[in-house]
Symmetry: C2
Subunit: 518 residues, 2 copies
Amino acid sequence: MTKLIENAAGRMVPAEINGAEAIPYKGVGKHRPTGRKACPPIRSCNDFPLDGNKLTESLIQALRNAGLRDGMTISTHHHLRNGDYVANAVFAAAAELGVKDLRWFPSASFPVHEPMIQHMENGVIHHIEGSMNGPLGDYCSKGKMRGMAVLRSHGGRYQAVQDGEVHIDIAVIAAPTADEFGNATGDRGPTACGLLGFALADSEYADHVIVVTDNLVPFPCVPWQIQGNNVDQVVVMDSIGDASKIVSGTTRITKSPDRLLIAELTARFCDEAGIITDGFSFQAGAGGTSLAFAIYLRDIMRERKIKARFVRGGSNKYLVDMLEEGLTDYILDGQTFDLDGVRSMRENPGHVNTSPFTSYNWHGKGNFAGMLDVVVLGATEVDVDFNANVVTHSDGRLLHGIGGWQNCLFSKCTILPIPSFRDRIPVLVDRVTTLCGPGELIDVIVTERGIAINPMRRDLLEQLEGSSLPIRPLAEIKAEVEEIVGGKPQPPEFGEKVVAAIKWVDGTVIDCVHQTGG
Amino acid sequence: MTKLIENAAGRMVPAEINGAEAIPYKGVGKHRPTGRKACPPIRSCNDFPLDGNKLTESLIQALRNAGLRDGMTISTHHHLRNGDYVANAVFAAAAELGVKDLRWFPSASFPVHEPMIQHMENGVIHHIEGSMNGPLGDYCSKGKMRGMAVLRSHGGRYQAVQDGEVHIDIAVIAAPTADEFGNATGDRGPTACGLLGFALADSEYADHVIVVTDNLVPFPCVPWQIQGNNVDQVVVMDSIGDASKIVSGTTRITKSPDRLLIAELTARFCDEAGIITDGFSFQAGAGGTSLAFAIYLRDIMRERKIKARFVRGGSNKYLVDMLEEGLTDYILDGQTFDLDGVRSMRENPGHVNTSPFTSYNWHGKGNFAGMLDVVVLGATEVDVDFNANVVTHSDGRLLHGIGGWQNCLFSKCTILPIPSFRDRIPVLVDRVTTLCGPGELIDVIVTERGIAINPMRRDLLEQLEGSSLPIRPLAEIKAEVEEIVGGKPQPPEFGEKVVAAIKWVDGTVIDCVHQTGG
């Protein structure tokens, strides 16, 4: 049985994760890291071809050359999202080599990675550490994975690698375009996905780095989002992914009248709070409501002739339109969500490629997240103290990753526009099933029944005093919802087994997820 | 007295450098590094302002905040060349703070840095580790510096920092444009110098990083050649340099008929050796002869409609013209030598910013240098075994740095176009005063009296058999020169004191320079 200890948020969290000691969450800004960054072995050009040609004939041979053996950690990135062929090919090759007990360390996994369940059943993969969207999350939730999952934010994943908390033996980097030396870019080629920032830490800190591409170009591959100087081998595959599935499914604007209302209220709130001024900045996550918010915001900006200094993406055609229309100087982009984003990144110097290091890493000398004037994010649950959940559903199943969500909470104003209930289950709860974001960092909740401002944000409460917006206490909105749906939601039934640890941005454990269903 | 030991090149080199053990040169590709890269302390956003504002009111206050104290190592870069104001300002501030025995670790120093002599006399600076052009080299040669100078190639400097051989306490990075977060670029602003690649290692590995700019822009400063996530403080100065002196003095095409002949022979040699073909690559150093070579090469390319895949710079208007004319796909640039280079790097996506890490670091997973089809470099002396000197004059004085010279020797064909004598002193000698490059890496010597091919390059000798070019044994050219000038040159008179160690690209000591004059 996993030993649990109480952390500063009052959550019982595992004292150990997969055999290594874990640090319980201490509160926002309370954990002070010590020690030094991970230091990869010193390499020498003696061991690499002078002419720069690092081609290996196949992925399986590359894994052999890399010395793949039982118990190693293999990482992949998720910029190809549900169109990725590479991660499955890696573990198919590992299975063929008869290797067991691997740790898969993806930046995120998708339904396309369902074959990994077979590898877990067969013992090839011991466990997954990384966001699990869909079937893998479900498998994990049911307690079927041998090891404990560890969910980290994008910034937290960089932090964990940088700090040596996760040592990657072999990183396999799917590259839409690359040269023989290993320089690689995501912004062009038949399987273009925009950028490769989620693989940056892997390329810098893994012992062995394999670039896999379906579009080999003569040196130099420019831009080199991944630097060949960090790469050991290059493998050419017929196709690294299904380009049609790279586009994120969450990039359609909502048509729901409730959600459109929420988006509009959010935009009006930003306006009345004085956020929409020349030179401001914003980030809106993926998802229909966020997109609708961006459209309302754009209309206000057009009308008032206001120009943003930068917007953060996940980019999509709406942000690209804003850049091209001159409504912002820059898009600082962490992942492109559609092909307009890819094109813009390739062609427009104002559309800038960022990484979890620049944007989100808490263990750096600052990061970009705190500079945002406003971010708009989703949540599966919010409680009366403004604490929020983003990984589990109301039935307790772990079905989502954290993404950049935790990192973004450090913006100057964090707004969660959410419906007050889904499928007749209230989203506003007494206590979130899984704590992902501490309430003190969440400033505003916008629902179709009103806007709740965090009482800690007296400045916002004052600024909005006398507003025509429906500003109400969160508890009041919650009570109203319970009235409508006929009471509080049933808390999910959990088993004893801890199936996943939820890390905070500083590497401490903020909560965990227990087995559910079966 | 410094204890000397013989290295694999038969040179007597110091066993210790400034108190640390030194590894004697073992031969090309013979030293195998062990251990791990330097690992900087883990930082936390807890200690940096969330809004990204890292401005400090003055350089002296920034040095105080950085904890400057006796014996520390302070680094600077040399992209502002002889127009740099920042390094002098740093040590003036250090002197004002009463600090002593500092090690100055510039990527190179110039005549503008002559005030450092006063700081050495007063004890503020203990010694300089880095290329010394002009008065500082002369001061060092005379044995006046307390510590031993260490000269490294651009790649060797990156290697030394990466490997932890040189620990930088405080890096001060002059930035032509920067934002409050510390993102910085060299390609724009009143003191634009193109790029900041020589400061990359410093930004990554120094304990404390201070960016100094005279052109502060709102976040984000794009491109961020230096990443603010590595920066501790930002200081604004009225001016970081004299823009008129940033341009390299070595960018005028020679008018000497002998040197024009040498340049032409070099281009013809490349042609007959079959190097000038579609998709080829070349690098020509700074200096009048190299520039003239590039012009001849360009004419051949135009005539035959040949396009290079890439050319390496030091960029200048001639290379920029070639890029704009479509004679090359890319300029891969390590430093811009004139304002056309700066403009092109800012505006042309084909003009790519490189660093000593990508281009030259021997302790990486390969680098760019070996991929070059041909490089054309200078030398102060060459001996009968094709060994070459690039740091000392025939009088033994240390007046030049190594630059990227050693790193470039790994190209597929390394050519040294040099006059056979200078001021009636032969350049071809029995034994070079200071060994900087082993003869086995130097393929061709082109003089106004003929072209000598290294006997190790049988392929080239065969390829050029029957050529109308004046191909002759090196010894024969040397004998002819001695005949003309009336004998061999007088070897310089040296004292016992070792004033400088010359590092090879792998961190071993290939030679040293003794005191001369007084």
